[in-house]
């Protein structure tokens, strides 16, 4: 018994002595964020830096599950060393993330990324909490064949134009025998996606971004009410009644089965739409989202970044690896092989990238004009803010309340959550 205990002790001491020679780092990646690329990158990095051992853990595919895990880490001050962060998280997690500017190379790197994304990941005090890794922005998908068939030369530039074109095409296709056909699909379910869609509608109609970057509740305004009234009128006219229960995937399934003329979605639907068994392969294109009659097109900003939590035992080494993962070379590779949209404007002119993903050519201007959700200014309450937003907008879409009244309630909610003053524009 004693001898056995001793043996265990010796082997334990030995293994921990061995472990001390290398610096252990870990990172968790959702299976859909290109985990294989990260594994390859980690192996390459370990070859270049033999003193570092990196463990790549597979995290849950669902974003909410990943968030719950991170919160457990923060709570117990123990966990992986490099966090992959949704674009809306850095604000709320501010207390637990290190300022990346304290590490070597980040100031230079930050200048090369899209400004809007860096701004989104920066706190009011000027701390950079996440280095951009890949980006996402809302797009208008449209059916080139149907636009041609009904005599339209260009995709719509205003929401009103979209409505009338969608109506014409829908009526035509219904007469032609496709009873399942709808004009426009978007994301109308009560979830984060609706906050993004609503941001795009309202901001593109000069109705602001719910809460201004100065910290004022601006959402209750006539422009916002006007565009939400318009969208609510689409439900069960040019959009299916079920659109109020659509997330990205439900929209894509209607669109990809050839039953919609227009769709609002993220870039991921592009390559899936051109897959072999897609009914619309080669029959569609993307454009910037329409705008209100006075406003300009707005794309909601999405995407992911990399950050270092405050409990990491090796923050410097972790930061160096994060910098490597987010580097231009890495992003180029991920863009070519996995169509992850780069966060460097420069890569959108890269010939190899464009050859692999042609629509990136137009994507650069879209990302440049992308608008982030008010996650930085409302931290650490963004989750509650967003929930108030999508619930209020949903009550308008299902016509439980008219837009003006719904926004009135929302403004009061936002005041209560954030403590910001309300501003009449």
């Amino acid at each position: 018994m004693n001898r056995f205990r001793l043996l265990v002790f010796i082997s334990f001491a030995l293994s921990s002595a061995l472990a001390q020679e290398t610096i252990q780092l870990s990172i968790m990646i959702g299976s859909s964020s290109g985990i294989d690329f990260v594994r390859d990158a980690a192996n390459e990095y370990m070859r270049l830096h033999p003193e570092v051992a990196i463990e790549v853990l597979e995290g849950p595919a669902r974003t909410d599950d990943l968030l719950a895990i991170y919160e457990d880490y923060f709570n117990s001050q123990e966990g992986v060393d490099i966090l992959t962060l949704d674009v809306i998280w850095p604000g709320d997690m501010g207390d637990f993330m290190l300022d990346l500017y304290q590490f070597e190379g980040f100031s230079e790197a930050a200048n090369e990324h899209f400004e809007a994304i860096i701004a989104n990941n920066t706190t009011l005090e000027g701390e950079l909490l996440a280095i951009p890794w890949f980006t996402d922005a809302g797009l208008l998908y449209y059916r080139t064949d149907l636009l041609e068939k009904y005599g339209f030369s260009d995709p719509p530039e205003t929401w009103q134009e979209l409505q009338s074109m969608a109506q014409v095409i829908q009526d035509g296709e219904r007469v032609a025998g496709n009873e399942e056909f709808w004009g426009f699909v978007f994301q109308g379910r009560e979830y984060e996606g609706l906050t993004v869609d609503a941001l795009e509608w309202i901001a593109s109609n000069e109705g602001g971004t719910f809460i201004s970057s100065e910290g004022e509740v601006t959402v209750a305004n006539p422009e916002a009410a006007e565009v939400l009234e318009l969208v609510a009128s689409w439900v069960d006219s040019i959009s299916p009644p079920g659109v109020v229960d659509f997330s990205e995937e439900e929209s894509r399934s209607v669109w990809q089965s050839g039953n919609a003329a227009f769709m609002r979605n993220w870039p991921y639907a592009y390559s899936l739409g051109n897959a072999d068994d897609s009914a619309i392969a080669g029959k569609f294109a993307v454009a910037p989202l329409p705008a209100g009659e006075e406003g300009a097109s707005v794309a909601g900003l999405g995407g992911w970044g990399l950050g270092i939590p405050n409990y990491s035992a090796h923050p410097e080494e972790a930061a160096a690896f994060a910098l490597y993962l987010s580097s231009k070379a890495q992003q180029k590779q991920r863009a070519i092989a996995g169509s992850f949209a780069p966060t460097y404007p420069e890569l959108y002119q890269d010939e190899e990238v464009l050859a692999a993903v042609p629509f990136f050519a137009d994507f650069r201007t879209i990302v440049e004009h992308a608008v982030p959700r008010p996650s930085a200014v409302t931290s650490p309450n963004y989750a509650a803010v967003s929930r108030a937003i999508y619930r209020a907008v949903h009550t308008i879409l299902i016509k439980e309340r008219d837009a003006a009244e719904g926004l009135e309630v929302l403004a009061a909610d936002l005041e209560a959550i954030t403590g910001f003053p309300r501003v009449q524009p």
């Binding site: 959702g30 859909s32 849950p60 595919a61 457990d72 117990s76 123990e78 993220w266």
Partner: protein
């Protein structure tokens, strides 16, 4: 209407009722099956087809080549199997004590055990996280994660097991006990040789229920196996079946995975049930 025709009509209604219930129970499984066999194009097409036009095994292939998923099946069998076995062992003792023995504090004990199940799992998650951390920090013990999962699941299956077994033990006639005592058998002997065989049907049933409970559990499994991919159970492995893109939901693969893990489970339960339940229900209850 004579008695014969009434009986026939009764039989017909009986079979119709059975058929409706059988369809209700099986249909979603059938729907998952055809959804897994459809191509993505057909899966999202409207109106839905009730039989796939073109059968593809791509979803099944994807799941079967996923080693994390296969590992998950093995882990789930280990965890759920051990949880069941230990819950039954420990729970049968407790059920016997609570159902047949007289002692002070019996009712409060029953209620306390029941009260353990009255919190939503999410509420005790973070507290449990700390307890588990504390156990893991005892380095020389080196408790494997799967064992920790078994311990946690037992906390959730035990109250139920104890309650069901208590009610079954109580239902057994006292005359048996008295006869055994007259013969000079100890409490344990009475328990082991007389009562336990009689409660076999209840043991099988509660065992099955405990097994499925542990097999289905997601929240704790997710939380406690994060740092150890090798210990993940099936529900966690399924939640990690992601699409190629963050927003893509691989519906077909999810359905295929659901079928793949359900079929062996049902087979297992069937073998188990036919062998044991049938054998026992015939002879066990003599009263």
């Amino acid at each position: 209407m004579n008695k014969q025709t009434r009986k026939i009509i009764g039989e017909i209604f009986f079979y119709i009722l059975i058929a409706i219930i059988a369809i209700y129970l099986i249909f979603p499984f059938y729907w998952a099956l055809i959804s897994a066999l459809k191509t993505e194009g057909e899966l999202i097409a409207a109106p839905a087809t009730f039989f796939p036009k073109e059968i593809t095994f791509r979803n099944f292939q994807a799941v079967f080549t996923n080693t994390a998923f296969l590992r998950g099946i093995l882990n789930s069998f280990i965890v759920a199997g051990s949880t069941t076995l230990f819950s039954l062992m420990v729970g049968a003792f407790a059920g016997y004590a609570l159902g047949k023995l007289r002692f002070r504090g019996r009712t409060p004990t029953l209620y306390t055990i029941l009260a353990m199940t009255m919190f939503p799992a999410v509420a005790i998650l973070s507290g449990l996280f700390q307890v588990i951390k504390a156990i893991q920090d005892i380095a020389w013990l080196n408790v494997p994660t799967l064992v920790l999962l078994i311990l946690i699941y037992m906390v959730f299956t035990l109250p139920f097991t104890i309650w069901v077994l208590t009610s079954f033990f109580r239902g057994l006639p006292d005359s048996l006990l008295q006869a055994a005592q007259v013969d000079g058998a100890t409490f344990l002997q009475t328990f082991w040789y007389i009562l336990l065989p009689l409660t076999a049907p209840a043991l099988v049933t509660t065992g099955l229920l405990a097994f499925i409970g542990a097999w289905n559990e997601y929240l704790f499994a997710l939380t406690f196996t994060l740092q150890e991919p090798g210990s993940r159970t099936v529900p966690v492995a399924i939640s990690q079946l992601g699409g190629r893109f963050a927003m893509q939901e691989p519906t077909g693969e999810l359905m295929a995975a659901a079928l793949i893990i359900t079929v062996p489970l049902i087979t297992l339960v069937l073998i188990f049930q036919n062998r044991i339940v049938d054998g026992l229900t015939a002879g066990a209850v003599k009263g």
